[in-house]
Symmetry: D2
Subunit: 329 residues, 4 copies
């Protein structure tokens, strides 16, 4: 990530400001303000503004006349209670504003989160910069054989090289065409010329969102099922949130991230495991799947899941979270 | 619930219509269309329109050119997959429109669900009907001693009688004042006169919502923690949804209603219980809480939960879902 | 409006804080922070927090690395341009948080604005205060004879006195019943007892909204067609906005509040008036309606508007905004 | 636009369905159901489902027990009243569902309308088709010299040819690279390979929206300031809306599309023109700008607008809508 000297100067000027305010401030966020956190090769996330802190949530939950906070411990307890019971409206009382530079294909996933405010730079109005996302070789991976929408093992060096050569060649050529079409000889309208640019081109936007919707964004986009390229941004934002509202972050980890939802059938299996009342069929499935990790998929697929109320995928998920074989031994 | 003869006639005229359509129809909903389902003493929920069915979700998920559905079983599998993985956008492709008559205090909880379309009758424009919610005696209960925002045991008959006498007297008096203020002698504006009416007065609205947001509404409002008076409506709507999109309803039951979210600390306790690795402290807590159901709260409150990473309330919740004592025996 | 000494102390403690921040501050808003602006007899609006200023809009519109502002004049020009062309996304980059105390019937109108964050105190959880809105006599008016949902002339003193006596008696009685039902003898659950309270009881909430949606709220609720009781709040908030983002406020006045939308048929009439090409029929309508202000409605209603493409109401509206008779003289 | 034989068969099968329903139907929409309306070279808009009609708006506005409609004329009057006074909630009671095939750069503008339900096909999951938008030569235009984000005059044939050659070459090459990267030799994950594709590639989605938000979409995207490529879609959707809710469409034309918003300063100028009270300065501006249409911009730019409360651009806009010079002659 490189800023022009103008951009750098603007940023430093902003950081040099200091005003007195009666609003709550968060020292760790003041430190972070305006400074870009690099993401991918040319992108960044930059904290532009924030409203509220842990105390603001307590204040709103109590519809308070003052700060609303009592002891740190009582506040933490209330926040944990709110998070556990999904009383999310007080979390909406905090707001974050970011400046983000990101590849278009990441922006297209990101924008699906509708409860946010966005102002994106416009290719109708401005000439877009010549910056394309080029993955690091260790992030170039094969199509997953298990997951229809994920990646599997990393490409060998030679093939990674081949991919990068193609990406670079096409980026150079499409951008050259873009410039040629807008050049003096042709003078094509910007809104038309840009249609030739690939979705690994970088764009930028201002993005503002409340804390409740931000946590929802993070729970989906910092998740292991999210595409790596958006996860990088979600993790950078997570670091900001951790500094901003530490009690919320702790509760979010305990009650969302490190937890798991069990379906009705799953609850029932775990309870029978605890009571030693698993059926023969269930015990066989558990034992076979545990042993089968070393065996070929063909053999694993012989297991008969019918009548258990759960699919192979659900059994796999359940056994990934609970040590059910232990109960039986 | 009583309809005027005019209302009844309008309703029957609507039910008598029959048109040919290329749109998917759901026989069980056609049967339900326009007919009010009584709720509380004077309220109702009435299906006014619906868009889509189970197949419409599959169709959108596949961005299909036709119906998008394959075999019933494949469709059901896809819907379960979407529900399990919280891929909720295809659920937004179904829409329900209801006409609801409900007490104002119920409407005030209901309206907090923002992602819906609402058209309420206006007390500025119309004279409001003399209809007040009077709870059945079996729903008059004392303040809960455990839950700050719930009810406990049912009132004795004499006290229930006393409450109803007060509610009836005040309803009669406030409505008489309302009429007197708007009468020929005074002629006060309706928008002012209505301010004297209590929140157990009935109002009415048209309410339209997509299936994803409707399920969210139901998961909160048909829940045992919801106030009884709104739960009645949520359950009536649940019956409609069950008829409308049976595969979605089944998946909703399995993956939301009958399931439970376990926090990180809870997952860890259950896993240790399965492995027989609970600590002494944890085993004591479990045993004491199990035995203690018969003992007074004072004694239960002596348990020391510190260092377990979970509060008394969380332990209680966990033991309500899992038979952890069994594991140890 | 009266605060308890505890509330007053909490408020003063909050006002006594001063922190250093790199975020933009607005001196006039810092001065206003936390102090309640009285509204109606017991209500208030209190600024709790704000994010951004005029410059923040320019900054987002330019997707800027620094403050984004240039000269005050250039910024003002850009803001006026955005407002004129309804490019509203940069306005969403400012956010306001208020604590509001308001009658329930006002809250019911207010909550219809869905794009906002709300945390209301709960009558399930807390005992509600004995505070009822009692209109000042000069705001007690008869039902309008023109407008189905408005008020007409003010009530004579005697009738105003009668109305207030009824409102006060019913408020006292319903609140006494509320207390009696929750008292030791009966102990009815709060969530039930509250149903007896009329909608002129005061409630409170925290309300947070972005500037674009706030201006939309103000354009509807500070309008002369809004009910007086909500207009009072909208005007108090307008005063805050004027201090907060003066360039936006000026543009809002010029391009929304003091302007008017002309329909296609209206545009056409005005253009023909400018060219002296009004038809005989139109000229007659204009002259008659101008002269008719003194005549009884019965006579005015004899005018034949058919074929003009506009209804009586639309003609009246147009003549209220344009001096069309002048053109013809 | 070409459909595969499978797509065509699925579509015809859907069109062949006929069910009986009690819901209101609109004959003209039944006729349109499922059939694609071609847009641009490979795109389309296809009506998939609809809820409600003109009557449904009246029904909701009256919170009716039956159809809510009275005479066609009374219904039309109410709809016009709602539109004129921006009482938009009843319009939200109608819903439209479309299947759209569109270039990615159009999708990126479209998705900014947040109050809608969307399900887009995924380049993580599927291989994207080799279909790129190639503008017709008459839509290839130069950058506008007046409007920073628009197009000016059409390119000469030779330059149009040059542009199309570049677009075609780059489309072919980027798609070939896309296939090569996903081919057996490399096997790159789809979610990575797609990053090489330009934004004139076609994508598809299901899109569902209520009528109020749809009209807002149309007022922005069918407007002459919208980019041609999205306007084509907005106009195709407009044709559907016209058939669906003819009274709404008529009112929308009269009160939105063919009308205009006048700012406070503009209202004041028009009124002074009507009264023959324009200032010397204003009369000069009007006369000069009228005569100046033939003169070069340099000369026009000499006009001094200061003190008139309106910018050059605003004067130009006003004179485009009103024949102010006439008033003075």
């Amino acid at each position: 990530m490189k800023l022009s000297s103008e951009e750098q100067a603007a940023l430093e000027e902003a950081r040099a400001q200091s005003h007195a305010t009666r609003r709550p401030t968060v020292a760790a966020l003041e430190e972070r303000l305006f400074a870009p956190i690099p993401c991918l090769d040319h992108g960044f996330v930059r904290l532009v503004d924030y409203m509220g802190d842990d105390g603001a949530i307590v204040q709103a939950a109590r519809v308070s006349y003052g700060k609303g906070t009592r002891t740190v411990n009582k506040d933490r307890g209330l926040i944990r209670y709110l998070m556990r019971h999904r009383h999310t409206t007080p979390l909406e009382m905090c707001e974050l504003k970011l400046h983000v530079k990101l590849p278009i294909f990441v922006a297209r996933q990101w924008i699906r989160h509708r409860t946010a405010n966005v102002n994106e730079m416009s290719g109708r109005y401005s000439v877009l910069d010549r910056e394309f996302y080029m993955p690091a070789p260790e992030h170039l991976a094969r199509q997953s054989t298990i997951n229809n929408q994920g990646r599997g093992r990393v490409l060998p060096a030679e093939q990674a090289h081949e991919v990068l050569a193609l990406l670079k060649r096409d980026a150079a050529q499409t951008y050259a065409s873009y410039e040629q079409m807008m050049g003096d000889d042709i003078g094509l309208a910007r809104e038309l010329a840009r249609m030739n640019l690939p979705v690994n081109l970088y764009t930028q936007w201002y993005w503002k969102i409340d804390l409740h919707n931000l946590l929802h964004f993070l729970s989906l986009r910092a998740d292991s099922h999210a595409q790596y390229e958006i996860r990088v941004y979600a993790e950078a934002i997570g670091d900001i949130v951790k500094d901003w509202v530490p009690s919320v972050w702790e509760a979010f980890q305990d009650y969302r991230v490190s937890g798991a939802f069990l379906s009705g059938p799953e609850l029932s299996v775990v309870n029978r495991a605890l009571r030693g009342e698993l059926t023969e069929r269930e015990a066989t499935i558990i034992a076979t799947m545990r042993d089968n990790q070393q065996r070929p998929a063909a053999e694993r697929s012989k297991i008969d899941f019918s009548g258990t109320g759960m699919s192979a995928r659900e059994w796999r998920g359940l056994l990934g979270r609970f040590d059910l074989s232990a109960a039986r031994d």
